[in-house]
């Protein structure tokens, strides 16, 4: 009779051990946006998970990443930038079962759909604001209807983004006219040459209502940013819009409107994905989601220069600058 009682007691003592929270190890950069997302995640899931936060410096190497995982032995990873993502992909290739199967959520990294093609361990939330969100939110605040949008892209890098954006915008009766800037070749020089020869001509086409600027370091670089892009945005009446907030800043006078990531809400979206992993869903099934929530900024000086009339009743959640 005593033995079963002891067994029950032993099981009861072991319960807290069995029910201990799963451990999430975060690898991230140290800057403000990363802090904001991490804080939001802590608020969302801090009560359910044991969270360890590790900041990777510019000079951090793979060994630091590897050692941290081996010492903490987390149940899953959160990877907040491309460096952490590439380290995690490398870690998943180590020989032991733990490393091979360690799951992760990635966010605040670029080109995630391409980076994670065929990856079974990592699901993600894209950092780039989709054209659908950017353009429909712009359309809501202006009086003119938007039918045709122009975008320059690099075929080797953005083909899938463009294909998806075209299909999504079609649902809103918006045509995305996409021009491959790699038509003369893929080098920065060739891309730049193509843009110089074709940008203004394409923008001046009568039916273009808007130019969507994709942030890309080959197309927009130190050599051509002011002389080509900013200059083109000032030489015609077609507004430029972007997913980068600083492009709509007053001092830049480049884009008339931006819809950039809302980092607090991104934290909530990431947390939802982490909970899905905890619930047993596979990263492959969760795949790569679009970022949902954005911060909107309208540069009124640019809007006025572009002769764009805004609908003030629809701007209550838009940050207005340059009145």
């Amino acid at each position: 009779m005593k033995q079963p009682t002891h067994l029950v007691l032993l099981l009861l003592l072991m319960l807290p051990l069995c029910a201990s929270a799963e451990k999430l190890l975060i690898f991230r950069q140290g800057s403000v946006n990363f802090e904001e997302v991490t804080k939001a995640i802590r608020e969302e899931i801090g009560e359910d998970l044991d969270i360890v936060d590790h900041v990777l410096q510019k000079e951090s190497q793979y060994q630091e990443f590897h050692d941290k995982i081996r010492s903490e032995k987390p149940d899953m990873l959160l990877l907040l930038d491309n460096k952490a993502l590439s380290f995690a992909k490398k870690f998943n290739q180590e020989k032991d079962e733990y490393a091979k199967n360690l799951k992760a959520v990635a966010a605040m990294a670029l080109n995630l759909r391409k980076e994670l093609k065929g990856n079974k361990n990592i699901c993600a939330i894209e950092y780039e604001v989709p054209a659908y969100t950017l353009i429909t939110s712009y359309r809501f605040i202006v009086k003119k209807n938007i039918k045709n949008v122009l975008v320059f892209y690099r075929g080797s890098e953005h083909s899938e983004i463009i294909k998806n954006a075209q299909a999504q915008l079609k649902k809103e009766n918006i045509t995305l006219r996409a021009i491959d800037a790699e038509a003369y070749g893929t080098s920065e020089k060739q891309v730049n040459f193509f843009l110089q020869r074709n940008m203004l001509r394409e923008i001046y086409r009568k039916d273009i209502d808007l130019v969507w600027v994709i942030s890309d370091s080959i197309m927009l670089n130190n050599n051509n940013f002011a002389s080509l892009w900013v200059s083109a945005s000032r030489r015609n009446k077609v507004p430029f819009v972007s997913g980068i907030q600083k492009f709509s800043a007053q001092e830049m006078q480049f884009c008339a409107y931006s819809a950039s990531p809302n980092h607090q809400d991104l934290g909530a979206q990431v947390s939802e994905m982490i909970f899905s992993l905890i619930d047993g869903e596979e990263p492959e099934a969760l795949s790569v989601e679009y970022i949902l929530s954005v911060r909107k900024t309208a540069n009124m000086k640019k809007m006025n220069n572009n002769n764009v009339e805004v609908n003030k009743d629809n701007m209550s959640d838009v940050k207005v600058i340059g009145k």
Binding site: K171, E172, D265
Partner: protein, 240 residues
Amino acid sequence: MHVKNRYCEWLFLLTILWVSSLSSAELQVYCTSTIPVNERDKALKADSALTGTNITVFGKFREFESSVKSSKPKYILISSSFLSINKDYKAVYQLELNGKSSFKYLILSTKPEWTKEKMASGSVGVVDELGRSGTKKYVQNNVGKFKKVKRVTKTDDLMPLLVLENANYIMIRPDNYEILKKKFTAKTQKIAESKTVGYPILCVLKDTPQGEIDALGKITPSTLKALGYSNLKKISGDNK
């Protein structure tokens, strides 16, 4: 004379206590809406019926929930489902829209393959009104089973969630959908409706004096309009 002075002192003290109890009254609000938080906050703070009440309008359910837990405000304005997870409050007023106190959520999809029959194998997007486990149960009880319930923080995020295929279905209030249609023109199909559920309710802590409850009933129609509603209906004792 001495007795009169004593009486005055007591009266003064009681008045201070009464005033301080009034000034500590707090109204915390969380309702899904397409109207920005700052606009709703401004309208409530301008209402003379709420003078002396500290008002906070939350944009996220998690923030509201943790604030209610820690500060236990006297009054809350919240979706009608909230009382299923919190027993400290009683509903005293029902918000109405165009003469109706209840509605049915719409379940929408954009792709023909996501039919009513396939709901159990699809994901549904919904604005967070009850937290992680509460929302899941609420959706299941009022609509049916989905493979996955995806919570978003804002009504505005529902249409991108659907069109960008982060979810196969969305669950949305009909009046909110009418507003979103001005922003998004993508065609959707109605797959199903939820059971009938009530619009938000104004609740008070269970020991709140009747005088305070009556005062809350004087919130003006213009404030209600700014919140997205048209009327405030007293809930009778039986319905509380």
